[in-house]
């Protein structure tokens, strides 16, 4: 059959080049620019995930043993929400924005006109393989671009489902999927794109940006980092513990870029926190969390080995206060709490991305800010406290992509907040209107008439012209008149 033959063919540089050429042709025809086309594609995506919910759930069960509820709420629910926001607001976003024109360009009218960048590449990740593929793609489409999606090969069931469904539901002349691993990605990166949107880790992020530099292609890099959660002693401990747990193990078993990577609390409070966490962990996942169906598994043997290695260090394994059980055959690691591991251990230098939660203690909570700031900037930073001053101090002095006070990850659900990193956690942002803008060029358009032509712009240059110009810059009408009458010094 032709389609399986096509799949067999290697996707190399030539194939990539032809793909880009084809999409450029489609984009050049102008079809992606119309509001109708964009809306039709967004609606198609919406229908696609709604009609195929079961297949999506199954793919995530296969790739990650992800609890169906997590799939429905995060992978599908959040994506549907993105589509709804776009359908509701796209007309507004597409409108040119009139801006004030200044005295120095009078008479004129000025506006900022959004236009699509052209042909863009979205490279997705394995932990939320549907959401992190479709959310940027729908943003690219809303902004009027043609788009190629490269899903992660580490979530193969999701990748092939996306390839199948997008081909079925979308306008193939403008929206395409390329499956594959390093070779295919390299072939794609050699091409010239108008933007590259990447979700993943910093190591690959560097490779992407280096490839993009060859063509002066702008990038959005949604990376990770060690998201800290600071816990004060004045909080409702049970609620805080539950929120921490649902934000860690309830989000793909800690394999989420916004999961709390580690907790910082005071030496005095740590025992209470640990006890409450233990209790609530059991409430959530039962006495045998390795058997619980309410928690994802580790995605692959590579990652399992990586996480096991973090616990290998005897200075670390000795600090386990809860959990630590592993089952390699099922790729499962129990929710594990560690208390006061050495700050220079591997588990405290790399992003964990798994079900291990180190708790670092300090004498005074204020010390936690310095601790956080001495490390690379994370994608998200959290603090649980009722102390108003501490909250403000946290917001003003800790730098992170985003921050949430007294909960975990919820800030992602708000479409009016930009979602993205800073420093090592990335550059650029998306969600809501920011998705549209991530794939848009805001063109400055200035319209002048022919009246009101001020000769003072043109040579020959005279002192009078200089005086008037100076007065214009100062903006005061009186000075301008004075200058024209030759009265200023």
């Amino acid at each position: 059959m032709e389609s399986s033959q096509k799949k067999m063919a290697v996707f190399d540089g030539e194939a990539a080049s032809m793909l880009v050429k084809e999409l450029r042709g489609s984009f050049g025809s102008g079809k992606t620019r119309s509001y109708e086309w964009r809306v039709s594609q967004v609606k198609a995506l919406l229908k696609m995930v709604t009609d195929n919910e079961k297949q999506i759930i199954d793919a995530l069960l296969s790739d990650l043993a992800k609890p169906p509820l997590e799939t429905v709420v995060y992978e599908i629910g959040m994506f549907k929400n993105s589509c709804e926001v776009i359908l509701k607001e796209l007309k507004q976003w597409m409108k040119p924005e009139k801006v004030k024109s200044s005295l120095s360009t009078f008479p004129s009218s000025a506006e900022i006109v959004p236009e699509p960048l052209g042909v863009v590449l979205v490279i997705s990740a394995w932990n939320y393989p549907i959401l992190l593929s479709l959310d940027p793609v729908v943003g690219a489409i809303a902004a009027g671009n043609a788009v190629v999606l490269k899903p992660s090969e580490i979530a193969p069931a999701s990748s092939s489902l996306l390839a199948k469904l997008l081909q079925e539901y979308m306008d193939n002349s403008c929206v395409r999927v390329v499956e594959g691993a390093v070779d295919e990605t390299t072939a794609l990166l050699d091409q010239k794109w108008d933007k590259i949107f990447y979700t993943g880790n910093g190591r690959v992020g560097r490779i992407i940006m280096t490839a993009a530099a060859k063509h002066l292609t702008p990038v959005v890099l949604e990376l990770g980092g060690k998201c800290p959660a600071v816990v004060d002693s004045d909080v409702n401990l049970q609620v805080a513990a539950r929120r921490l747990i649902s934000g860690k193990w309830g989000l793909n078993n800690g394999q989420a870029c916004v999961s709390p990577d580690y907790v910082i609390t005071t030496k005095d409070f740590a025992p209470k926190l640990v006890d409450t966490l233990k209790t609530e962990l059991e409430n959530f996942f039962g006495k045998n969390p390795l058997e619980s169906k309410d928690i994802s598994r580790i995605v692959s043997h590579n990652h399992f080995t990586r996480l096991a290695k973090l616990l290998d260090d005897e200075k670390v394994s000795g600090k386990i206060v809860h959990g630590g059980e592993k089952d390699e055959s099922k790729l499962r690691i129990a929710p594990t709490l560690l208390l006061d591991v050495p700050h220079d251990s591997l588990i405290m230098s790399e992003e964990i991305f798994g079900p291990l939660l180190p708790i670092i203690t300090v004498n005074k909570l204020e010390e936690s800010f310095d601790f956080i700031n001495s490390r690379t900037k994370p994608l998200a930073a959290y603090i649980f406290t009722n102390n108003k001053k501490l909250k403000e101090h946290f917001v003003m002095n800790v730098s992170a992509g985003g921050m949430l006070i007294n909960d975990i990850a919820l800030h992602l659900v708000v479409p009016s907040l930009p979602f993205g990193g800073v420093g090592d956690s990335g550059t650029g942002s998306y969600h809501g209107r920011f998705s549209f803008e991530a794939f848009t060029h805001k063109k400055a358009v200035l319209s002048r008439g022919f009246g009101g032509d001020a000769s003072l712009r043109y040579p020959p240059y005279t002192d009078t012209k200089l005086r008037v110009m100076k007065a214009l810059i100062g903006g005061s009408i009186l000075n301008i008149i004075r200058a024209l009458l030759g009265m200023s010094s």
């Binding site: 002095n397 921050m403 949430l404 800030h411 063109k443 020959p460 240059y461």
Partner: protein
Amino acid sequence: MENYSSLERDVRDMRAYFGTGKTKEATWRESQLKALRKFLLENEDHIFKALNNDLGKHQVEAFRDEVGTLVKTLNLAIKSLKQWMAGKEAKLPRIALLSSAEIVPEPLGLVLIFSSWNFPFGLSLEPLIGAVAAGNSVVLKPSEMSPACSSLLTSVLPSYLDSNAIMIIQGGPSLGELLLKQTWDKIFFTGSARVGKIVMSAAAENLTPVSLELGGKCPALLDSLTSSWDREVLLLKVAVKRILVAKYGACAGQACIAIDYVLVENSFISTLLPLLKVWIKKMFGENPKGSNSIARIVNKQHFLRLKSLINDDPKVKESVVIGGSFDEDNLFIEPTILVDPPLDSAIMTEEIFGPLLPIITVEKIEDSVGFIKSRPKPLAIYAFTKNKSLQKRMLDETSSGSLVFNDAILQYVADTLPFGGVGESGFGKYHGKFSFDTFSHHKAVARRSYYTDFWFRFPPWTLNKLQLLEVAYNLDYIGMLLVILGLKGSKRRLINQDEKLHDKQF
């Protein structure tokens, strides 16, 4: 030969100083902006002299394009600083999961600015203003190709500013390389695409975000401006003047937003050329070299490059209709116009960056759209036309950093418009508040209270919780109420689960 041995240590010290939080204070930022303004006002004469030395720029051109625009920007920044620094509330969805959400701008940290030689003050200080207003520490490297201006910036400006946080350093490519080896929180580069690629590749090693303000061939199209009024000739005169000043009056065409070439209908050439000739004379005088009404070419290398654009190709040489004389000793090229040089010649494929103006004729002026579209995206497109449908086609079908109707270069002074490129002309934007934003991280900050929580957020998972979460995430408040009251059924079945509905009430 400059000694850069202390550079690494200096950069480290600056980072430590940023860490003290000093540059984040509103008072600090304001003091630096006011000091920059003071520098410009007190050293105006020195600045004009330096620009004259490096580029033969006339004082009025220097004021119009550099000093004046900078003072305007500083006035705006000082006035607007508090407003720019304030967080912006973000709209919350109806379902009150969160009690507040805002976007808080914060400085990126330690930033690096590479400037260019053609507007050595403007292109150094406009980004510096943005970086400082945003609360960053800054290292600025002006171009070594405008040495008098760079010296003024390196020797005089620092005495006005907080040198713990702002460093201005002179040097050539080797300094540039050394700087790129350090770690920055942002790099802002103005210059050529070739060097832009080098900067971005170096930045990629540290995941440093960059703004690239590059160039390109900025085309202008000149319509015959027919109108039912009898003002046709008047309009044409204004258009011609604007085109000429946007070429020869902008640092002798050595400006990223200067008009590179002009497109006109071939039936129009006979009307246009005499007008160009007349107005060149009127505006730039009989002796533009002596009167400084046109700037010089910056150095011998660029002078020879421009000379070879004409002399190397006989077909190009014979297309010269006005000007064409080169004074190597004075690095002066008179205003030169060519008609229809071959489209594959260097002068029509490379960015000219000099006082040579090719006029390309087309059958119908609408053909300009296709011509421009088929070439790399420029920093600016200038369309001199009153034809509304042509204007719409230009807007919809071409892409460029900026698009200006019936004028040129002026977009540079409009602070409410973002200034920057797209595609080969770069990415990132600045001017006005965009400068502040480009050196800021817009941090999303959301807050919750302890009072409201949805017990159905937490495992163990049940069918009931699934329904509730679904409506909650769809921000469907009413739906949620109905489910809780048991009034809204669901076609769902919970997959792979026993349907033990042990809803614990937390």
